[in-house]
Structure formats: C-alpha cells, structure tokens
C-alpha cells in the first residue's frame, strides 16, 4: 500500500459516495436529530452498508469477511465524514469486531462474528469510566463467583450503547489484569441511560449491579492489553479519516461561499485577508491527509512494527483533530451570521467534529502517545 488510494480503495470511495449521497445525505442526519431517534441512526441505511460489505471489509474469509485489509476503512470513513452519516460501523464492527477477532475462542467467534458481520446484531464497547478518554484506567470489578463472574460498577460514554444487542465490557479481573466480557442486552442488573449529545448520535451510560455472568462470557484467548490497544488504534484511525472527510466538505463549502458571497461590491473571496486564511486551511487539510494515509498504511502491515503503528495512528488522530478544529471554526466565522444558524449544515459538522475529536483520544493524549514512541528511540 502507498500513501494514495489504490484502484480498489478508489472504487470503495466512489461506491460509498454514491450510496451515502443517495441514502444518507446530511438532511437525513438532520431529520434523525429532529425526530429524536433514540438509536441515532437509520437501521435501513445501516443494513444497506452491511449489504455493500462494509461490515466484512477487514475480516478474514474464513470468518465470513472479505479479507480486503483494514485500509478499506479509510475511504469508507472519509465518506461517512463527508455525509455526516451515523452508523454503528465504528462501535460494532471496528472496535467490538476487532476485540472478538483477537480475543475470542473459536466457539465464541462462531457465536458472535457472523451475527455482527451480517448486521443481525450489534455490539458496543463499554470502556471509559472518565469524562476524558483515559483508556488504561479501569475500576469496574469482575469478582470470581462459582464457575463465573459477578460484575459491579459503571461505564460512561458508551458510543452506540443505546438499544445495542449487547456490550463488550472491560473490567478488572481478580488478578488485577483487565478482561473483556460479553454482556448481552437483557442481562439482569444492567441498566442503560441515554446521553443526548451535541451530535445527536447514540451515546449511553451503563450501570452494572451484581451482574452474574458465566465463565464463557470472558474473551480470553489472547493478550487483552495488546488487543485493546490495537482495536482502539484502529478506531482512532477511522475517526481520523472521518474528520478528514469533514475537513474536505467544510473547506469545499467555505471556498464556494467565498466565491459567491458579495460584500463591498466584490466577492469576499477576492479579499486577501480571507484568501490567506482559506489557503492556510487547505495546508492543514493536506497535512492531515498525509498523516491519515500513513496511519492506514501502518495498520495494514500490522505484522510489522507496533511502535510504528502507535506513532502514526497518534499522529493521524492528533493532526485530524487539529485540522478539523481549525477548519470547523473558520468555516463558521467565514460564513458570518448565517454560519451560526441551525439552518446551515455547518453547525451540524462542527458539533460532530467536537465529539469525534474527544472520542478515543483528544489531542493531548495523542501527543503523549506519539512522544512516548518518538522519544524512546
């Protein structure tokens, strides 16, 4: 793979663009918000994504996947960003799917993966316990009881946690290490509280009180810490690609506005002060694309250097966070008064940017991860 899309990726990009433009334009996302749809996405649109193979892209053929490689997600998430399309692809397939793929036994995989790939069921990852993503902090206790475990504690900011068919819950095992548990919806002692976010997507808090689970609920056929980190890095790269797609759309929209909006008898885009600011947005967008492409390239040759993957994924999420913050703020400012109205789509993008920035790691955390790799050399 290189730092530009190959033919297959380009085809995925084109097909994702066509599909989302037809089935999930920004107006559809706006309607979901206005109707207050609890799960935050359109099941029909999600099923269509499954039929296009998006949930199968990175899985091996023997698991029912397309064996395309993880790089297929770069163009898909870029287009999800462009169209602002909500779907449980990140939560269920990228995050939970990656954990199941790495940590589940053959039987557990058989029970979970086909359901997940077919979209018949969707899972959400219950990891965070703090308002800022601090993935290594975990106090939710798993106590050994009889042949199984009892879980007690709570999780917050579970993306797509509302109306999920189940959750993968990260808990502290009796030996002090972390474990990943499969907790199906309807398990006694589990309660879900929706959190209404600025991006109107699906977010939940999860409370687990004396939740009894059989031993088979624990996914422990691999190195949990390594698997968690890898799954989160995959998720971070997807979010970076989504943010990049948002940057592209916001920049295009803003440049178009600068060309057409007339003030002082001239298109405002002819004013040098605005031209230079717009040019700097383009620079940041291009730098972000460099980093995102490099992160996916590193993820696709994962047999290689884990340190390289960590470094480049942290770089991509950091740069995409930074670029999206700048471009979304400037998009509002350059649109002037109309930029702060709900009528314009820019506000919807701005709000999604802030949530995606925070998800799986704000810029400071990404810079710290990057530093740990760079300075260790």
């Amino acid at each position: 793979m290189s730092l530009i899309y190959n033919e297959d990726q380009q085809q995925l990009l084109d097909s994702a663009r066509d599909y989302l433009a037809a089935r999930s334009p920004v107006s559809a996302q706006r309607a979901l918000r206005d109707q207050g749809v609890a799960q935050g996405f359109d099941s029909g649109v999600w099923q269509g994504m499954v039929e296009l193979g998006w949930s199968a892209v990175a899985f091996a053929e023997e698991q029912g996947g397309l064996d395309f490689g993880f790089a297929g997600y770069a163009p898909i998430f870029e287009q999800i960003g462009q169209h602002l399309s909500a779907a449980p692809l990140l939560s269920s397939v990228v995050l939970c799917g990656s954990l199941i793929e790495q940590l589940a036994s053959a039987e557990q995989q058989q029970a979970l993966l086909p359901q997940l790939i077919s979209g018949a069921q969707r899972y959400a990852l219950a990891l965070d316990e703090h308002d800022r993503h601090q993935p290594d902090k975990c106090t939710l206790q798993a106590v050994a009881e009889g042949d199984g475990y009892r879980l007690d504690g709570s999780k917050c900011w579970v993306a797509d946690g509302v109306e999920a068919d189940g959750w993968l819950v990260v808990a502290r095992l009796p030996d002090g290490l972390r474990g990943v548990f499969v907790v199906p919806a309807g398990t006694a002692g589990v309660s879900v509280a929706p959190r209404r976010m600025i991006d109107a997507r699906n977010m939940a808090a999860l409370s687990l009180q004396q939740v009894e689970l059989p031993a088979e609920a624990l996914l422990n056929s691999g190195d949990t810490e390594a698997a968690l980190e890898r799954a989160l890095d995959r998720g971070r790269a997807c979010l970076a690609a989504e943010l990049l797609g948002i940057c592209d759309r916001l920049l295009d929209t803003t440049v178009e506005y600068l060309k057409t909006r007339v003030q002082f008898d001239a298109p405002i885009g002819s004013f040098q002060a605005l031209q230079h600011r717009a040019a700097r947005l383009y620079v940041q967008q291009q730098l972000a694309r460099n980093a995102v492409m490099a992160a996916f390239e590193a993820l696709d040759r994962e047999q290689g250097d884990i340190a390289e993957r960590r470094r480049l994924v942290a770089l991509a999420k950091w740069k995409a966070n930074q670029a999206a913050q700048l471009i979304s703020n400037e998009a509002v400012q350059m649109h002037g008064g109309i930029g702060v109205t709900d009528e314009l789509d820019i506000g919807l993008y701005l709000k999604r940017v802030r949530v995606a920035q925070a998800q799986l790691g704000r810029s400071d955390l990404m810079a710290a991860r990057y530093a740990a790799q760079r300075l260790a050399r």
Binding site: L3, I4, L258, Q275, A279, V283, L287, R289, L315, K319
Partner: protein, 396 residues
Amino acid sequence: MNELDAFRAETRAWLEANCPASMRTPMPSDEMVWGGSTVQFNSEDQRLWFERMREKGWFCPDWPTEYGGAGLDVRRQAILDQEMRRLHCRPPQINLGIWMLGPVLLEYASEEQKQRFLPPMARGEVRWCQGFSEPNAGSDLASLRTSAVLDGDHYVINGTKIWTSYGNKSDWMYALVRTGPMVPKQQGISLIVLDMHSPGVSVSPIDLISGKSSFCQVFFDNVRVPADQLIGEVNDGWKLGKALLQHERRAMSRFSESALPTHFDLDEYLTRCLPSPEGAAELALQQRAIRCLMDEECYSLGNRRMVDAVSARQDVSGLMAISKLVHTEQERDKFELLLELLGNAALGWDGDGFAARDLELTNSWLMSFAQTIAGGSSEVQLNVIAKRVLGLPDAK
C-alpha cells in the same frame, strides 16, 4: 515490484562500496562542495565521492542520458534518495544549475542550447546563480526593470539584480530581463543566460542579520550577451521563470535534508537539553517540541505521498504549492524551539564559550527568516494556493 527491489539492492550495494565513510557524516558548512569551474575539495574523499557520483550520472539522476543524466524514473529516483538518506550520504555537490535551471532547459531550450549547456552542468563544471529579484520589485517580480536591448547579434543588458546567492562565486547566471518595455509587465520579459565574467558585470555581497551572507547585488553596465543565449521565445520568459520558481521551491525544501549543515535535528537536541524533564516549565517546553516534531512528520509524509501520486500520474500541483510555505515556516518554528531548548548557549555571536555547532545554529535561526521571504515569500505562496489551487477570485 521486483525490478524496483533489484534497483534498490544494486543502489544500496553501490553506495556502500563507493561512498567514503567520511562522506557519511554530518557536513559542516565549510565542507560543502560547490560544483563549478573552480570546484574545491577539502579532502581526497570529497573528490572521490564527487567523481564517482558524476560518473554514475547521479548529479542529476532523472535527466536523460544524452544530456549527462542517469535516466531514472520517479520511483527509482526516490529509491536513490532514500538509500542515500539511509546511509547518511552527503550530497556530492550543491548545484543550483542542476536543481533549478536544468529542468527548465530540458523543457524549453532549443536542442542546440541543451547540447551546449546541459552536459557541462551535469558534470558539475559550471556554478550557476539566479538573477530574478530586483531592488524595487520584491514580491512583485514581474515589475523588474533590468533591460536587454537587441544590438546586432547581441543583447545589451543594463540594470541590477539583488538577493543573488553566491553571485560573487558563480560562473554563469540565468536572469529574467525586460525585452519588451511597451507591453503589459508579464509579457515583456525574457530568460537569458550569461557569463558572469563578461565585461560590465560587477558584484557586491550583502550583510544580513545573520552576519556575512551568500547574497549579493549584481550590477550590469552595458553587458553584451550573444543573442543565442536567450532561452525559449523572446518575451515569453515569464512562463519559464514561473516554471523555474517551482523547481526552486523544491530545491529549497531539499535544504532540510539531514546531510546538509543547515539541518538541525530537533529530536537530538530534545534528548540532549531535556533528558528527563522535570517541573511544569520543562514539561510544557517538551510538549511544544513534540507538537513541532509531529507537524514536521506530517510534512515529510507529504513528500512520500507526492512520489506515490506522481508515479500514479495524479495531479500533485496542490501538494507542490504548499511545500515551500510549510517547510520554511516549520523550520522557523523549529529554530525558535531550539533557541528555547539551548537557552543562552544559542544566543552567542562568536568567540569563546560557544560550541561551533551552536553558533551555526544561531546563524541558521537568523537565516530561517530569509527562507520564508526568499523564493517567493509566505504571502506569495498563500496567494498562489488561494488563486491557483482554491480558485478564489482576483481583487477588482
């Protein structure tokens, strides 16, 4: 892919066998080799490395073989670059003719001119300087006034050029001159090449805030230049000049390469000056430095993306347009950080108590201000991006 792998293996083996060990070390500025009629070597290794690279045609690896190049495609050229960087090979010579004028001659010069000027350039026998800027033109380059008037089979040149790097040490100059005074300013300009030893040429160096500099002002007093040294069509020089400036931007971003004395590795200074940061101030400084390193890596990944895109025949004009701006601004930011990391040790001018390399750093910091102005200021670069890449309208 196999052929490329084979080329990589051959290249690596050749460099390992032919690049002397002393040419794989960081290069102090007094050990830069400048191609030209009076090329000087400080050591036998410098001479060997120069001659071996010359014989391979690797002074200009991408040029056709008939003009002294090695005929490498973009992939192979990138491999050669990578392998040289991997071994920390010094550039065998610095040569503005090859980096900037050569590609323009290849595209626009007559066959006769190519035969005459390219092979000596490719052998590193001529040192070239650039005569574009003028004292009152600045970023408005097209308003230049140095005139070339046809008199028989010669042009007679009068006027002055400024910011001519190494004008005092160069053999030849490529200059933009006004050949059509009565037409709109971009339409009356031509590109001409001339011998710096011609009667009527005089040169005086310019001191900068960094001290003595390579920049000069050049004066022309009825300098007679044979008419067949005009490149391309008369009054069509603006197009050639713009093409040349694109190559200049690329050449300027080459000045970051780690083998050059102007390159300072922030990682290295971070490890040296903040080995184990303590307290809020040191941690804050380290965090700023990390962000600087991250931006630098985002930029250099763009160079890789550009190679991939060129190989796939994709349009890279957008990436090229941001390259000079991003690189020179990042370098300036990096020097500001290096200054903070080194403290007062980076604020020495000369004399005892300062490491030579640190004095060089101070000098490079002061020069970094020139880099965001020379070769088209950052503001000119932003204009180019706004107008040519984003298509924003001209002011009325």
